[in-house]
Structures are given as structure tokens and as C-alpha cells.
């Protein structure tokens, strides 16, 4: 078997999409922390605030590092090649986007329909927290769906 020294454009494209999905998962956690901060007592909220900021900086640093380490060697030709690729990971990414959007829409519609049962029992929240909560939910749904769709299955790889 031929030894591969540099990954092909298609492999790089897969890695990039996986990196984006993990970044979305991490960003969702940051949004979750922001929402948790609102509900926490003052001393705990201060800790969550620091943790959220630290996590944000770590995510940005890690993503930048991985991007330049893994993708910078790609030429313009390689980039245009992988954009046209319709491989497994690319399709899984699109499916995860569609599924997360549909499920988020359904949940919001159900919440709206049952406003007397659920929404009215929640404490009053600033619009910013509501938006952060929805973003966290959508990003978590997307990243979990993507990771599930692209999960490794034993016995099919050689």
C-alpha cells in the first residue's frame, strides 16, 4: 500500500467540516454558560462569567491554531476542488443543518402553542438571554446531529 504523506483535498475538506462542527459545539457551550450565568447567584455568576470568557478564548485560539496547522498548505486549486466535492461528510453536514433547523422550528412552535403551560412559568428574561438560549439549542442540535451522522462504525474501514 502506498504511504500517504500529505492529505488529499477531499480529506482536508472533511477535516475542515469536522472542525467547524466541533467549533459550533464549543460555541454552544459558551452560550449555555451565558444563560446559566443569568440564573445563577452573584458569586457563582462571576465564576461562570470568567469560565465563559476563558472558554471563548481557548476555542478561538484552538480553532485558529488548527486552521493554520491543517489548512494553510492548501493551494487555491485545492480549495476550489474540495468545494465541489459531494462526499459523505459534506452531505452529513447538510443533513445535520436541515435536521437541527427543523427540530428547532418544531420546538419553538410547540413552545409557542403551549405558552400557558411552559413559557408563562419561566422567569422573565432579557431578550439577549432568550436569543442566546435559542442559539445554544440550535448549535447543540446541529453539532450532535453531525457527530452522530459521521460516527465511526467498526469493520468498514481499511
Amino acid at each position: 500500500m502506498k504511504a500517504q504523506t500529505t492529505p488529499s483535498p477531499a480529506e482536508l475538506a472533511d477535516r475542515k467540516l469536522q472542525l467547524i462542527a466541533w467549533a459550533m459545539f464549543a460555541v454552544a457551550l459558551v452560550f449555555c454558560l451565558s444563560v446559566a450565568e443569568f440564573f445563577a447567584s452573584e458569586p457563582i455568576a462571576a465564576i461562570i462569567d470568567i469560565a465563559g470568557k476563558a472558554l471563548g478564548i481557548v476555542i478561538l485560539g484552538l480553532m485558529a491554531l488548527l486552521y493554520f496547522w491543517k489548512f494553510r498548505p492548501m493551494s487555491r486549486d485545492q480549495r476550489s476542488h474540495y468545494l465541489a466535492e459531494d462526499g459523505f461528510v459534506h452531505i452529513a453536514f447538510q443533513k445535520a443543518m436541515a435536521k437541527s433547523w427543523m427540530l428547532s422550528f418544531l420546538v419553538l412552535v410547540i413552545l409557542q402553542a403551549l405558552d400557558n403551560l411552559i413559557l408563562e412559568r419561566l422567569p422573565a428574561m432579557p431578550l439577549e438571554i432568550v436569543i442566546q438560549g435559542i442559539l445554544a439549542f440550535m448549535l447543540l442540535l446541529f453539532s450532535v446531529a453531525f457527530l452522530f451522522l459521521t460516527r465511526a462504525e467498526s469493520g468498514n474501514e481499511e
Binding site: 500500500m1 502506498k2 500517504q4 488529499s8 483535498p9 477531499a10 480529506e11 475538506a13 472533511d14 476542488h81 466535492e85 459531494d86 462526499g87 459523505f88 461528510v89 452531505i91 459521521t150 462504525e153 468498514n156 474501514e157 481499511e158
Partner: protein
Amino acid sequence: MRNELGNRIRVFRAEHRLSQAELAEAIGVSRKTISTIEVGRFVPSTIIALKIARYFQVPLEDVFFLDDAS
């Protein structure tokens, strides 16, 4: 009755003594794409299917077929 897409990629690879990674590189897709097509987890696009058949220099129907499942 449900139709599923079957394939003989593994057989053709064995005949040509090719690994999944080598076939993937030759047709411009990732190895995961080939491995998931082989086990029927991923239905490839027409372009990928045609590229695979062209690589092995056989008609498309020799590589892919409809597997009737009830």
C-alpha cells in the same frame, strides 16, 4: 418493497489490489466516502458513482445495482 443500492466496489478493489485510501485519492473523494459507500451507509452522487465506474473501466451497472429488499 424497498430498493437499496448495492455495490461491488470491494470486489473491484480486491481485483485491482487497491486500498480504500488509494481509490479515494484516485477519484478525488475522502476515504470515509468510499468506506461508507462500500457498506451501503452512504448513497453516492451520480458524479461519484460515474467516477468510480470510470476508474475501474466498467459500466456503471457492473459496480452499482439495485438490491431489492422486502
